[in-house]
């Protein structure tokens, strides 16, 4: 029965039957299915055509220079500053220093942001492009809670403000009266961190003390002149020198509100003008050693260049303030 496969006849199969039927031979459901099928094909074709058309238009725009325009963009014509503080548009323009011929898409947003963040007064900054020609800068600023006196590279005194988080900054645009009302910070060492200063260790605790005093005992707070952090690292104590010459020691380990309440009581109790309070130590819990002294002269000048000038206890008039030598130009 062996045969040559070349001579094998083609046996007809049911697959040779044409399946297509005339529309009149289709049922209503079949016609609906067919219409839906055609509709689906048409929709797919339209979608494909839309994609092709979009691609064609993009290609045309690219070749005619539209894409180039799009890439290059328009020049920056306006700067918008949105801030929660006191910095102004002049500061922004000076800090960003955008060249006049800079285009909106050509500028380096990261570099601009780095320039802004180099200013210690800026806590956070966000820069966005607004087509066609505007740059919007959103800035969150630090508010000063204290100030400190330093010497620049030439030895000239300079004042820095200190934020709640302990970051010192030059401070621009603040009301002079507000700045004058801030207490001085003493006993700290400034460290560089990039283009600005690193945060002062322990300053958040001091900020909390100042905020509590300002809120709960504003009269006392107004008399505070110098906040010393000399014993912060070793004993956890904060020393406050008031305008009257009184020195108060606070403990960071105890509730500030309670300590301020005790101080307020003591100040209110010391009514004899001949025996004013000279020293109050609130860092020992319920036992509050108090030292009375003679009426001192009033403090109304900033403590500058008094490093190591610690008078005797009986005659002390100014608290000792160290002035770190910082080259502000570097």
């Amino acid at each position: 029965m062996s045969k040559d496969p070349q001579d094998t006849p083609a046996t007809r199969s049911w697959r040779e039957i044409p399946q297509q039927v005339k529309p009149r031979a289709m049922s209503s459901g079949g016609r609906v299915r067919q219409a839906m099928g055609v509709l689906r094909v048409v929709m797919l074709a339209l979608a494909a055509a839309a994609v092709c058309w979009g691609g064609w238009e993009a290609a045309l725009a690219f070749h005619s220079g539209g894409a180039q325009e799009l890439t290059r963009g328009d020049r920056v014509r306006s700067l918008v500053l949105v801030t929660d503080g006191v910095l102004g548009r002049d500061w922004l323009a000076r800090t960003l220093a955008i060249p006049p011929d800079a285009t909106l898409v050509g500028i380096d947003i990261d570099a601009l942001r780095a320039r802004l963040m180099a200013d210690g007064q800026v806590r956070s900054a966000e820069i966005s492009r607004n087509f066609p020609d505007r740059i919007t800068v959103r800035v969150s600023e630090r508010s000063p809670v204290a100030r400190m006196m330093v010497q620049d590279g030439a030895g000239a005194p300079a004042m820095l403000l200190v934020g709640r988080d302990g970051v010192p900054f030059t401070g621009r645009g603040f009301d002079a009266a507000m700045v004058d009302s801030l207490p001085w910070i003493d006993g700290v060492t400034l460290c560089r961190s990039g283009a600005s200063f690193a945060a002062i260790p322990g300053m958040p605790s001091v900020s909390e003390l100042l905020a509590t005093a300002r809120l709960e005992a504003d009269d006392l707070y107004r008399t505070w002149r110098v906040i010393s952090l000399n014993r912060m690292a070793t004993d956890g104590d904060i020393e406050v020198a008031a305008k009257s010459g009184m020195r108060v020691t606070f403990s960071t380990r105890e509730d500030y509100l309670r300590q301020i309440a005790r101080l307020d009581f003591l100040v209110a109790s010391a009514t004899d003008p001949t025996k004013p309070l000279a020293e109050v130590d609130l860092a020992l819990g319920s036992q509050v050693p108090v030292k009375f002294g003679a009426a001192p002269p009033m403090l109304d000048q900033p403590p500058v260049n008094t490093t190591g000038a610690t008078p005797s206890r009986a005659t002390i008039s100014f608290p000792s303030i160290s002035t770190p030598r910082i080259d502000l130009k570097t």
């Binding site: 062996s2 045969k3 094998t8 046996t11 049911w14 289709m26 049922s27 459901g29 299915r33």
Partner: protein, 404 residues
């Protein structure tokens, strides 16, 4: 639904009802997710005689199945039955080409092409080519003989062919619902797969699917279909016999057949009467139970005898250890298995669906549709699988059907 998932439908256009199943084929497995059924109109003995009516009924079943599955069918596997289907056996042999007598793919392809190449009469189309096991120098090889050593390779095919017009009518009924017929599946093979186990097919088993208009049968030997056939007699003929014998309408005869018909006469007393309706209404009549049972039993015996004669020498009780398995709606006639056991001289039983089939699809009326679905899926994977593909999970599933 993932992009590789296809929704396939299995349709059985029967004489009494049209059944549609919907399966979700993921490429690795198929899950039955919908079922629809519609009383059949315009179909006699498995052939479409009223295109419009048959299309409407088929559409109804498909719509019900799609609604049940909540998915649209992509393509359909269509069951094929009817008296026009015939089969013949043809075999071929080739001498192995290689000098070392190792059988190669070319040898297998050549012998298979030769065995399938017998000319058909005009107007006849092949529906199935069912391969029997290979023989290498007379040695039986149930699977592929590739790389075996021998001088002569033989194979035989049981080819089922049908009349072109009737096949086209069935296909056009499906296309009338704008669905493509992806595969034609012989109903006897479909139902046979569902009610017989692999072991039974290996030992030899005869599966008989008694429908309303036709009776399909498939004889399995050595794990593969050996002979298939269709007898254009079904449950409808039982009803017709009762109708003529007792002078009743078709509806009344169907009612009596279902309630009192048996494949083996049990009633001893000829005076044992049964009521037609039993509701004491005007026109209600009594009939002899013995007469009813005699009519149905005679037809059952005759039907099974026709099947036995059609099988001829192919069937012998000794070569059919699995016995006879009956399925289909007609097999629900009581004592049909007992009758089959007497006719074939072999154990007989009613077929049951495999355990994984859901409870609502375990009725014998769904066996063919279930088989169509799984046979169609396996045929697709057969076509899609490359020749030298390594056996994987899908191949194993496919082999489950290929070994029949």
């Amino acid at each position: 639904m993932s992009s590789r998932t296809t929704i396939v439908g299995a349709v059985e256009i029967g004489t009494s009802k049209i059944t549609a199943l919907v399966g979700e084929h993921t490429g690795r497995e198929v899950v039955i997710i919908g079922c629809g059924e519609c009383p059949s109109r315009g179909v006699i003995k498995g052939s479409v005689v009223d295109y419009r009516a048959a299309t409407e009924c088929t559409q109804g079943a498909l719509e019900l199945a799609e609604r049940d599955a909540n998915e649209k069918i992509d393509h359909v596997f269509l069951g094929q039955s009817g008296g026009h289907l015939e089969g013949f056996y043809n075999e071929a042999s080739v001498n192995v080409k290689a000098a070392d007598n190792m059988i190669e793919t070319d040898d297998i392809r050549t012998v298979c092409d030769l065995a399938k190449s017998k000319d058909l009469p005009l107007g006849r189309l092949v529906v199935h080519n069912i391969r029997r096991p290979f023989r290498v120098d007379g040695r039986l090889v149930p699977t592929s003989p590739e790389n075996l050593v021998g001088q002569r390779l033989e194979v035989g095919y049981w080819t089922v062919h049908g009349q072109e017009q009737r096949l086209a009518d069935n296909i056009h009924v499906i296309k009338g619902f704008n669905l493509e017929v992806r595969e034609l599946v012989l109903s006897s093979l479909a139902s046979g797969h569902m009610v017989t186990s692999l072991e039974e097919r290996q030992n030899g088993v005869l599966a008989i699917d008694i429908g309303a208009g036709t009776t399909d049968f498939a004889l399995y030997r050595n794990g593969a279909p050996h002979t298939t056939g269709v007898v254009a007699v079904g449950g409808g003929h039982f009803t017709n016999d009762v109708s003529i014998g007792l002078r009743l309408t078709e509806t009344q005869a169907e009612k009596l057949k279902v309630r009192f018909g048996r494949a083996v006469v049990q009633a001893k007393e000829r005076d044992d009467k049964v009521w037609l309706d039993g509701n004491f209404a005007i026109g209600d009549r009594q009939f002899s139970r013995h007469a009813i049972e005699s009519i149905t039993a005679a037809r059952a015996w005759e039907l099974l005898d026709v099947v036995r004669r059609k099988l001829g020498q192919a069937f012998s009780p000794e070569a059919c250890a699995g016995g006879v398995v009956l399925t289909g709606g007609g097999a629900k006639l009581p004592a049909f298995a007992e009758c089959a056991a007497k006719v074939f001289g072999s154990p007989a039983r009613l077929g049951e669906a495999p355990g994984w089939v859901a409870e609502n699809l375990r009725d014998p009326g769904y066996h063919t549709a279930l088989g169509i679905l799984y046979f169609g899926i396996s045929s697709l994977t057969d076509h899609a699988a490359p020749a030298r593909r390594k056996a994987g999970f899908l191949s194993n599933v496919t082999r489950l059907f290929a070994q029949t």
